[in-house]
Amino acid sequence: MTDATATPTPHYASSEAAAARRRKRYAADRRLRLYGITAIVFALGLLGILIATLVSSGYLAFTQTHVRVDFPISTENVDLEKPDKGNYRAVMREGISALLPEATSPAALRSITEMLTNNTQFFLRDAVLRDPEVIGGNLSLKVPVADPYDQLYKGLIDRDTPEDRRRLSDEEIARFDALVEQGRISRPFNAGLFLNADSRFPEIAGLAGAIVGSFYALLVCFLISFPIGIAAAIYLEEFAPKNRATDVIEVNINNLAAVPSIVFGLLGLAVFIQIFGLPRSAPLVGGMVLALMTLPTIIIVTRNAIKAVPPSIREAAYGVGASKHQVTMHHVLPLALPGILTGTIIGLAQALGETAPLLLIGMNAFITSPQGGLMDASTALPTQIFIWADSPERGFVSRTSAAILVLLGFLICMNAIAIFLRQRLERTW
């Protein structure tokens, strides 16, 4: 029997000790909130640093310093009948000696020749072949400048460092400045980054071969994994009986999704290249390996999309007399297609960024002409980035960042298309 009118129990909630405890608990709450915010700021801050580093080191590669040289195309060097066999080295020498007339010593002339890119005579030949009218007259051509001078013009070489620790001597810098004063130096957009193939020289190195190789590899990947993935998913979702065999297949697919990508590269090397004898570095093999990697993604995405179609659609189709296949092919699949497409595009975007398996099957070949087919040795965009990152020339640092920006641009485009499709085509039931 409790005495209800006994001394009232003290209010623990308002005592000093209780207030102190409450303050500590609220402080702990605030600390946890702070940890959360710190973690988010840390993660996003690093993302920001990543992007800032790439942009700041890469934006310079989107322009390339050129020098305008007037080349006299005299008929004694270039024959009108056979313009492709002309002595373009002589033409180049005459044009160069006219640039800075006061430089006459062979060493000076050699130094000025080194100011232009190594392939100048081939540019000359191509320009003359494009426009044979100039034979006998003058051709004013904008030639890319060699990498050290490109760095100089973009301000990446510090003029204050002592001469022996610098890439260019004082004399070379003085000559370049003289050309700047003549108004011959310009810095237009570096279209060569997208149109040229790879090269040892950063001033004319481009991504054309890599983009074509990646495109072919992704095409093969899509053509293989899309039908197989959808067929497998439809079977597993609609037709498969619930027995051990089906469980094994499902477990296998989930495991494949988590296998490291380099193991797929080993598989491609051992099976496609050694046993089947397919050519190394071919986009076909790269596409096949990427297809094996994208397959689990497409299967999982398709299964989810098919699961999202309401049963009423299926029942209605059965109701008008359709067979099981007709229900699936004519009714369920078209309705699930938007989800499937979105997931496929995201899966392809992931495949575009994969490097390790392509390295193992050899898609890091050094190709200097972009016209390749499915079976010719080629390179892909991520492996090209890897090759350029290892190159010793200074110009390749900014070009690697620019190539990364191009790759990220493609990825952003693909993801944007996927999100756009999802917004437009998605139906909520």
Partner: protein
């Protein structure tokens, strides 16, 4: 070839469909639509031809190679190794293609001529076989067509078989991975004893080019490589696990909808960046920064320290832990959270004492999956970590990992039966088994310890 098959299949389709149309016109009691009749005939014509073409092309190369070797005089082929055989074959093929560098032996030229002749014969034989098979199939299939013939069922059975085949491709891939890795690893363990590999402390994968070459004896003890992988993966997990879990806690419990809608996509961006970009970032920014910081503090730092690679790898796996923990926290029913808040607990106490323990299996599964991802990661370590295997746990030293060694051993044109190439496959087998084991443990933990709420 493919165009011929395609063309004949289309012809077959048209034949079948017109037959079906005729059935409709004459009897009017047809089981299947004429399109199905056409598809039935087309499938019977096209699929066997495709299978024949595939098998022929797959085995044509090796059959012709075998015949070529047997046709060569015994003097050249007797007692020669497999590599010598390959060399002979490629020499014959080069001569046949017109790529002649030096004056070839007369037997080689004769063999090249034979190759060209046989190649022509094979092509004609293939064409004849294909066309005859297709015509036979066309005749037989057309003969089965009748008004009450269940063409649609036939087509649907073929479709089902195609779907089953596609489902088995996933199993075939896993089987292919395991078989190829086992096969090559078996060849490796015949050259290097497994005890040396798994317990040896010296990793120097050299092979002597000529006998008696100094520094050519290779040591294939993989313990330093495994240790390097563990060091970098540990650093990555130390960075990613707290960040990921705290991020998830904040996003689930404290963040407003607006913040959540902004932060979650940005974390997804972290997950979507290709790993080669992270590798370049590590080389360009992180490693020099760590080296400079080490120089300021007076600590000896290697230019490609494990800390740089581990740090960037940790950044890469933050989104994995964050999103899986987020899902796990959200899966706890609201009633538990509301009950705890009703008892007077602060949000922090609710999270730490109620939600986190309830979501712990899911979070552990996420952490294990992220660990498996970190162990299998290639590009970041290839670009940022070193190549020399050393037995050290100091994060400022350079270490090498399993994936770096696989890439280094296989880049370039190395012969396929040297211990170096096979060592890469042995490492790949170990990697595959470890990641598979981690994934299975993760799934088992989640499944067994997850609380089932109504």
């Amino acid at each position: 070839m493919l165009l011929t098959i395609l063309g004949l299949s289309l012809v077959a389709f048209w034949v079948g469909r017109s037959a079906g149309n005729r059935f409709v016109a004459t009897t009017g009691q047809v089981h299947s639509l004429p399109g199905y009749h056409g598809a039935f005939v087309a499938i019977w014509v096209g699929i066997p031809a495709l299978i024949l073409l595939l098998l022929w092309l797959l085995f044509q190369g090796s059959v012709i190679d075998g015949l070529l070797l047997r046709s060569l005089p015994d003097a050249l082929t007797e007692g020669a190794s497999a590599a010598r055989h390959n060399l002979l074959i490629s020499e014959i093929r080069n001569v046949a293609a017109g790529l002649i560098f030096a004056e070839p032996a007369p037997e080689i030229t004769a063999a090249a001529e034979r190759l060209q002749r046989w190649g022509g014969i094979a092509r004609i034989a293939l064409a004849v076989c294909l066309v005859s098979v297709m015509l036979l199939a066309l005749f037989l299939a057309r003969a089965r067509l009748a008004p009450r013939f269940r063409a649609r069922n036939g087509v649907e059975t073929a479709l089902s078989m195609f779907m089953i085949f596609c489902s088995i491709v996933a199993v075939l891939t896993t089987v292919g991975i395991i078989v190829s890795l086992l096969f090559e690893a078996w060849a490796f363990f015949r050259l290097v004893p497994p005890a040396d590999f798994f317990f040896g402390l010296n990793w120097e994968p050299q092979i002597a080019i000529r006998p008696g070459q100094i520094a050519g004896a290779g040591a294939f003890g993989a313990v330093p490589v495994f240790l390097g992988t563990l060091v970098i993966a540990t650093i990555a997990m130390i960075i990613a696990t707290p960040t990921g879990i705290f991020t998830a806690i904040y996003l689930v419990e404290y963040a407003s909808d607006r913040v959540r809608n902004v932060v979650k996509p940005m974390l997804e961006i972290l997950a979507g960046v290709p790993t080669v970009v992270y590798g370049f970032f590590a080389v360009l920014t992180v490693a020099p920064a760590i080296r400079d910081a080490g120089g300021l503090l007076g600590v000896a730092t290697s230019p490609n320290s494990a800390l740089a690679a581990g740090l960037v790898m940790g950044i890469m796996i933050i989104p994995f832990i964050s999103s899986l923990s987020d899902d796990a926290l959200r899966a706890v029913p609201r009633s538990m959270r509301d009950g705890s808040l009703a008892m007077g607990a602060t949000q922090a106490e609710t999270i730490t004492r109620v939600l986190l323990p309830a979501a712990l299996p899911g979070i552990m599964g996420g952490v294990l999956l992220a660990l498996s991802r970190a162990i299998g990661e290639t590009m970041i370590v290839v670009m940022a970590a070193g190549l020399i295997a050393s037995m050290t746990v100091n994060p400022l030293d350079s270490v090498t990992t399993v994936t770096v060694q696989i890439v280094t051993l296989l880049i370039g044109d190395t012969a396929f039966d040297s211990p170096k190439t096979l060592a890469a496959f042995a490492l790949g087998l170990v990697l595959f088994l470890v990641t598979l084991g981690l994934n299975i443990i993760a799934i088992t933990i989640v499944r067994r310890y997850r609380e089932q709420y109504e």
